[in-house]
Amino acid sequence: MSTLRAAWHIAVKDIAIEWRTKTAFASGLVFAVLVLAVLFFSRDPTEVSSLAIAPGALWVTFTFAAMLGLNRAFLLEREMRAMDGILLTPAPRAAIFWGKFGANLAFVGAIEAISLPLFVLFYNVPIWPRLTELLLVIAMATVAFVAVGTLLSAMVVRTRYAELMLPLLLLPFLVPPLVGGVQLTASLLDGRHLSDISGWLKLIGAFDVASVTLAAVLFQVVLDE
């Protein structure tokens, strides 16, 4: 069985389970709406423009909503030790990482796809002229935190407080893509061209390559342990 084919089956299974239960998706979505609304209404409109807090609000929403999905990725393997069932098959162990990574990307992408129009609705920010560039930035940052999140989620799943441990471990690693995402979003909403802010883009790109490579390699060690 090829790694790609096995990863596909694992990702499809995870998406099917989430589609059926909608536990993480529903909570992620409610969380996203709440954060966007709370941050929007907590500012004094006469003092702070919505544009000033919009980039931060967007990335806080994405990050924490995504974390709900990342937490779920391996918890569903824990309930009846289904992961052991996968490990007993001849599927390459790398396929488990890529399958989970793919399913997590789909989950976080779906949350982002729904949150982004809500973000525009709340903050009335002009994203449409820069939509393609903004989507590129979102996609790049998402790859980074899904890669690290998938690895750490596998690490903490056997701990007693897995759902508490994941944010504690994950957030420090997310500083580079998160700061980069906020900076790039602010610059794009401010009308600056992407080439003027390419440093942040390169940083996220480099972080993507490093995080995906390291996570894929270290995942096998985590499985062995």
Partner: protein, 223 residues
């Protein structure tokens, strides 16, 4: 038994958790058609031994060599509660590379769950879960089957069906390790019995033509 018939060779396996030894210098060989009934007190290391043999746990020392595909039924069903029995089996069949589309339904029929195949396994009783787990373990027709308390949760009819199934597998040459205290029912399937106590495996006593309870009594005296 010719060496080519060897299915499992475990040499000097030890396993520690932190500093606590759970298995100490366990060696075991099984050939085609041999069925080992493994008995021992709680905490003796029986489940750990099965997990090491299955490759789910790395031994701290020693080696395990398998020359056949492996199937395992453990305490946990290794299934997804949100998926139906059929979806679970299809998923694992794909990962095993089983292409026969009729295989899943054939196994559901074998474990008498065809009518409940589209129900989520999260709604199943312990016994039904056990039957789906058995079907999962058989998907790829493994040459070595590991069972941890195979009759646990099964009613009388399902137990009889499983014992008959295990007898059929033995006749087909499938090697098996059965961890159980069900001497009476599984003693009829097994070809050997051994006792694991405090992480050490005693000698493998042949069971053919002998009373399992008497063999068990001998093993208790020896350890």
């Amino acid at each position: 038994m010719p060496p080519s018939d060897l299915v499992l060779t475990a040499r000097s396996i030890s396993r520690r958790f932190a500093y606590r030894p759970v298995l100490t210098d366990v060696s075991l060989t099984l050939s085609r058609g041999e069925v080992l009934l493994l008995v021992g007190p709680n905490g003796a290391g029986k489940t750990t031994l099965l997990r090491v043999l299955a490759g789910l746990l790395r031994p701290s020392a020693g080696t395990v060599h398998l020359s056949a595909a492996i199937g395992m039924v453990a305490h946990d069903a290794m299934l997804y509660p949100a998926l139906s029995a059929r979806e679970n089996l299809r998923f694992f069949a794909r990962l095993h590379g089983v292409r026969d589309r009729g295989r899943v339904d054939a196994l559901l029929t074998q474990v008498d769950l065809l009518k409940r195949g589209d129900d989520r396994v999260g709604t199943f009783s312990r016994g039904m879960l056990q039957r789906v787990a058995i079907a999962r373990a058989l998907l790829h027709e493994p040459g070595l089957l590991l069972f941890d308390e195979p009759l646990s949760g099964l009613d009388a009819a399902a137990s009889r069906t499983l014992v008959a199934l295990l007898t059929e597998f033995r006749a087909r040459g499938t090697a098996m390790v059965l961890v159980s205290h069900e001497l009476e029912r599984l003693g009829r399937v097994a070809t050997h019995m051994a006792r694991l106590a405090a992480g050490r495996l005693g000698s493998l006593e042949p069971l053919t033509g002998r009373d399992p309870a008497a063999v068990f009594a001998t093993l208790m005296q020896d350890t």
